[in-house]
């Protein structure tokens, strides 16, 4: 099928690459329609495993081409896919108007972005209205197929989804898209069909549940310390209950990510506007923001409220491993808090140094290292904020030799308190039974 994917962010790129891989003819279209085609050059700095490989192989096969020409891409497509970040609603509206103005045949759109509950339907109505003004009578369907991939595993998840949520009310359109996606979901039971509003609400609800779950786990872990309990043992007990399972029950120094936070804020705001009761969700969001500083508070107490002129090493800046994104990452909040107290900070991340520099603002008190050990020399403590694989089994002897004081604040609970004790390292995790 001929497909045009509008939006070259992670979701758009993964979608275009995977659809091309299954033999479709895909255009990946820049949101800036004034851009020269050669410059569309898709931003593959996500550090997303196997994405660069996927895209380049499909470009060579010419199943995938770049474009910045909106009109040409609209004409090309049997199916248009909107994959525009939710904070670019105005661009999406512009695109929808353009489709209405230039389309010369029936229109089928898959909206992957959850702008708001009901937005897909609004797009559909808008195009129908423009068609009416033009006195043309092509059919229009806008289906909602919320993007459910996670950073770090996006290609794998698109190719082998645990389910696909598809929302719409036009049977023909639903059939066509079901057919398009069949090579991925493979069995009908993995395809969940509902109205487009329901599909959008599903995506928001998923993120709300995950956020609340993580915030509750963090609260339980933080409080466990007061009983001198190591929450990682408790976690084993909780996770083995089939009603709960092991996903999203790891305490840590807060969650980040681009859409997670924006989805939650949207939902919380829309609840308030509609007079619905969204207290639990608001608290979950607020708790997460507080949790991003949990290691700061521990350090603040550990160093007796005086962090001025201390030097701290940070391992990990990205909001989770295997991505270069620092969107809403705890590292931003943590490092701001440390620097505001007059501390010096040296950071290392395998991929996110550059994104961090761009997002952080004034970086004059921050040094960036190219090596995970180099930055440890003479520091007063080490903070681990992202559980990149290379941090999981470091050379502790080297680490102790380099650091002024062997203190680790572990925001992801990747080390074992007993082993740290044996190594002679002061270890402070989250909910590990050690009160600072």
């Amino acid at each position: 099928m001929n497909i045009s994917v509008f939006g070259c962010e992670l979701t758009g790129t993964v979608t275009a690459g995977c659809l091309a891989k299954k033999g479709n003819s895909v255009k990946l279209v820049s949101l800036d329609d004034t851009l020269e085609r050669s410059k569309v050059g898709i931003n593959l700095t996500y550090g997303e495993p196997s994405l660069a490989m996927l895209v380049s192989s499909q470009l060579i096969k010419q199943n995938l081409v770049y474009s910045s020409n909106w009109n040409e891409s609209i004409a090309h497509a049997d199916i248009i896919i909107i994959s525009i970040p939710p904070w670019f609603l105005s661009v999406a509206k512009k695109l929808v108007e353009r489709i209405g103005e230039v389309a010369k045949k029936k229109i089928l759109i898959i909206n992957q972005t959850t702008f708001s509950v009901g937005q897909s339907k609004k797009f559909e109505d808008k195009i129908a209205k423009i068609f009416k003004e033009r006195s043309v009578f092509f059919s229009v369907s806008v289906l909602s197929m919320p993007d459910l991939i996670s950073r770090g595993t996006s290609v794998e998840e698109f190719l082998n989804p645990s389910r696909i949520i598809l929302g719409g009310d036009n049977a023909d359109a639903l059939n066509i898209v079901s057919e398009l996606m069949l090579p991925f979901y493979k069995q009908k039971k993995y395809l969940k069909i509902m109205s487009s509003k329901e599909a959008e609400y599903t995506k928001f609800s998923l993120n709300a549940i995950l956020a609340t779950r993580v915030s509750l786990i963090n609260e339980l872990a933080n409080s466990a310390e007061l009983f001198a309990i190591d929450f990682s043992k408790v976690k084993e007990g909780i996770g083995s209950d089939p009603r709960i399972g092991f996903n999203y029950i790891d305490p840590g120094c807060g969650f980040g990510g681009p859409s997670f936070a924006s989805d939650l804020n949207y939902l919380s705001e829309v609840f308030e506007k509609k007079g619905a009761d969204g207290r639990l969700l608001s608290v979950a969001i607020e708790e997460n923001e507080t949790q991003k500083e949990v290691l700061f508070r521990k350090a603040w107490r550990f160093f007796n409220n005086d962090l001025a002129n201390k030097t701290f090493a940070i391992w990990g800046l990205s909001f989770k491993p295997n991505t270069s994104s620092v969107d809403n990452a705890p590292s931003l909040t943590m490092i701001k808090a440390l620097v505001a107290q007059g501390a010096k900070v040296i950071v290392y991340d395998p991929k996110a140094n550059e994104a961090f520099m761009q997002s952080f603002g004034d970086i004059s008190s921050i040094a960036f290292a190219d090596d995970m050990y180099e930055l440890l020399e003479g520091v007063d403590a080490l903070f681990l904020l992202t559980e990149w694989e290379e941090f999981l089994t470091p050379d502790f002897t080297k680490l102790k030799r380099l650091m002024k004081q062997s203190i680790i604040f572990d925001g992801r609970n990747v080390y074992e308190p007993n082993e740290m004790l044996k190594e002679g390292i002061k270890y402070i995790g989250i909910g590990r039974g050690i009160v600072v």
């Binding site: 507080t290 508070r297 521990k298 350090a299 603040w300 107490r301 409220n305 808090a337 505001a340």
Partner: protein, 541 residues
């Protein structure tokens, strides 16, 4: 020589006796050019004083009185830091705190430097707290700020932060002043030690009210926190660094002001910290700038166009010649709820005196009783007395032209109804001053038969001013407060009294200490009067 034996005063007496004292506002208000003559506007503040029993001749004579009292010289003395508070040997230099490029050359460099240094320290503290980087002992950001202070250390910040409630602030402000402890224990129940910071505001840092509340706060902290309580949870503001240190406030948490800032003028100094925390330092500087504009106007404008001077002279006329004994402050906006309480301190603590600068008993009336309330509420309370009582009262009506704090997020209908309420508020304000002025004459002709009844008689002829502010902003409030400060000063100059001391409140403090000892059983009751003895005995039963 008393002012009453001066020529200007005598001329005013005969002006009053030869007809002006009996002149009715109904006649006066219809004089040609009334509004041109008896209103003044400066940037966003309009004052209508036409509803006073004055004419052009009255103003001429009042101006002569001001000249006789060398008002211009006194204004200059105020701005150049002469020790006008002669009973305490201090200047009253609150204007130096808000100096503008044209007024600043009056002040000594040393004063400017001191002010700049403290404001820049204040700014750092404000930013640190507002940005969430001031941490409690356990590392949490500060969410609640409690200002403990009394009198000048309380009323000003309370009034301004309440008036500017529409400003979104990352911290929530609370004010504790009362010595009785109820306020304190009620508040502490709602707060969390980890996220609360106290500001101890006291000029001398010996005020028993403030220190006893501070002790209560300290023991409340000790219930939850083990260390760093002083360093992370208390800021002190005082003229007395040593006393602050003695109490436990570390140097870096101390903000200073100086003995040349009177308590009731202190919100322009570092005592304004809570205002700055609410508005941000930029907002606080806007507040100072507003007052600075009024300072410039006051220092540089001829008397007839000078708002503080005119309002003061008219009140002198009302008080000393027309025998009006009370003044009502009637703001028509709930955000100005604390303005009457604030002005009652400013005016009555300044001018509630009965000896002149030389210590002689005065033979004329000085400060009237001043009180007030939000106008629309007071209409259902004490306006009865204003309209039909036997006390003569003059009033200041204060209204806001544009309500700009309506939340733009509001549904259209709510917005609409709020804006209708605003018209209704203004209508009430203007109606009341009109009825006070005209009395029965305000009744429309066709309705007069209904009012033909001694119980429905409105004498009218009651004086008032109306002050219109374009909006409530840091700047407009700065201007309004400075207006009243200077007006109060001008009255003091005419009455030849020192408006900057307050000896009247000192003796009570002293006797309270003795009485406390008596209550505690540390001294004999027999030295006390029978009434006090009886009261103490009842308590100790």
């Amino acid at each position: 020589m008393s002012i009453t034996s001066s020529l200007a005063w005598k001329n005013l007496v005969s002006h009053c006796q030869s007809g002006m004292g009996k002149e009715s506002l109904l006649n006066l208000i219809n004089m040609p050019n009334r509004m041109e003559e008896f209103s003044i506007e400066i940037g966003g503040l309009y004052v209508d004083f036409s509803k006073n029993r004055i004419n052009g001749a009255t103003v001429e004579l009042l101006e002569r009185l001001a000249k006789e009292k060398e008002l211009a010289v006194w204004i200059k003395k105020l701005f150049t830091g002469e020790k006008l508070n002669h009973t305490e040997n201090r200047a009253a230099l609150h204007t130096a705190l808000r100096s503008t490029s044209t007024t600043q050359n009056h002040f000594e460099q040393k004063i400017q430097d001191d002010v700049n240094e403290q404001f820049s320290r204040m700014e750092k503290i404000v930013n640190k707290i507002r940005d969430g980087h001031w941490r409690g002992a356990t590392g949490k950001t500060i969410k609640d700020i409690v200002n403990i202070g009394v009198g000048g250390s309380d009323l000003g910040p309370l009034m301004i932060t309440h008036a500017l409630q529409a400003f979104k602030s990352p911290v929530k402000l609370h004010f504790l002043s009362s010595i009785d402890g109820t306020q304190t224990s009620n508040l502490l129940k709602q707060l969390d030690q980890e996220t609360t910071l106290f500001i101890l505001s006291s000029k001398s840092f010996t005020t028993i009210d403030t220190l006893s509340n501070a002790e209560t706060a300290l023991s409340w902290f000790k219930k939850k926190l083990r260390s760093n309580i002083y360093a992370q949870h208390f800021i002190g503001i005082s003229t007395n660094s040593e006393k602050m240190a003695e109490w436990g406030i570390p140097k870096q948490n101390q903000l200073l002001f100086w003995d040349w800032v009177g308590g009731r003028y202190s919100m322009w100094s570092t005592i304004g910290l809570s205002i700055a925390l609410k508005l941000g330092m930029e907002g606080f500087r806007g507040f100072l700038a507003g007052a600075g504009e009024m300072d410039e106007h006051f220092a540089n404008t001829e008397f007839k166009k000078n708002i503080p001077v005119m309002l003061a002279l008219i009140d002198i006329w009302n008080i000393n010649f027309l025998d009006i004994e009370a003044k009502a402050i009637l703001p028509y906006d709930a955000r100005l709820k604390y303005l009457p309480a604030y002005l009652s301190q400013l005016v009555m603590e300044s001018n509630g005196k009965s000896v002149d600068r030389q210590g002689n008993k005065v033979d004329y009336r000085t400060c009237p009783i001043l009180w007030g309330e939000i106008g629309s509420n007071a209409q259902h309370a004490f306006y009865q007395l204003l309209h039909q009582g036997t006390q003569k009262v003059m009033s200041d009506f204060i209204a806001i032209v544009e309500r700009d704090d309506f939340n733009s997020q509001l549904e259209e209908e709510v917005e609409q109804s709020l804006s209708e309420q605003q018209s209704l508020t203004l209508a009430n304000c203007f109606a009341q001053s009109r009825v006070l002025m005209l009395g029965n004459e305000a009744i429309p002709k066709e309705m007069r038969p209904k009012f033909d009844d001694p119980f429905k008689d409105y004498a009218g002829n009651k004086s008032s001013n109306t002050i219109l502010l374009d909006n409530i902003s840091p700047k407009s409030l700065g201007k309004l407060i400075a207006l009243y400060e200077h007006k109060t000063f001008v009255e003091a100059v005419i009455w030849d009294i020192n408006p900057f001391d307050q000896w009247g409140v000192e003796l009570g403090k002293l006797i309270a200490e003795e009485t406390r000892k008596a209550l505690a059983g540390d001294i004999e009751l027999s030295g006390l009067d029978c009434s006090t003895q009886a009261l103490i005995k009842r308590i100790k039963q």
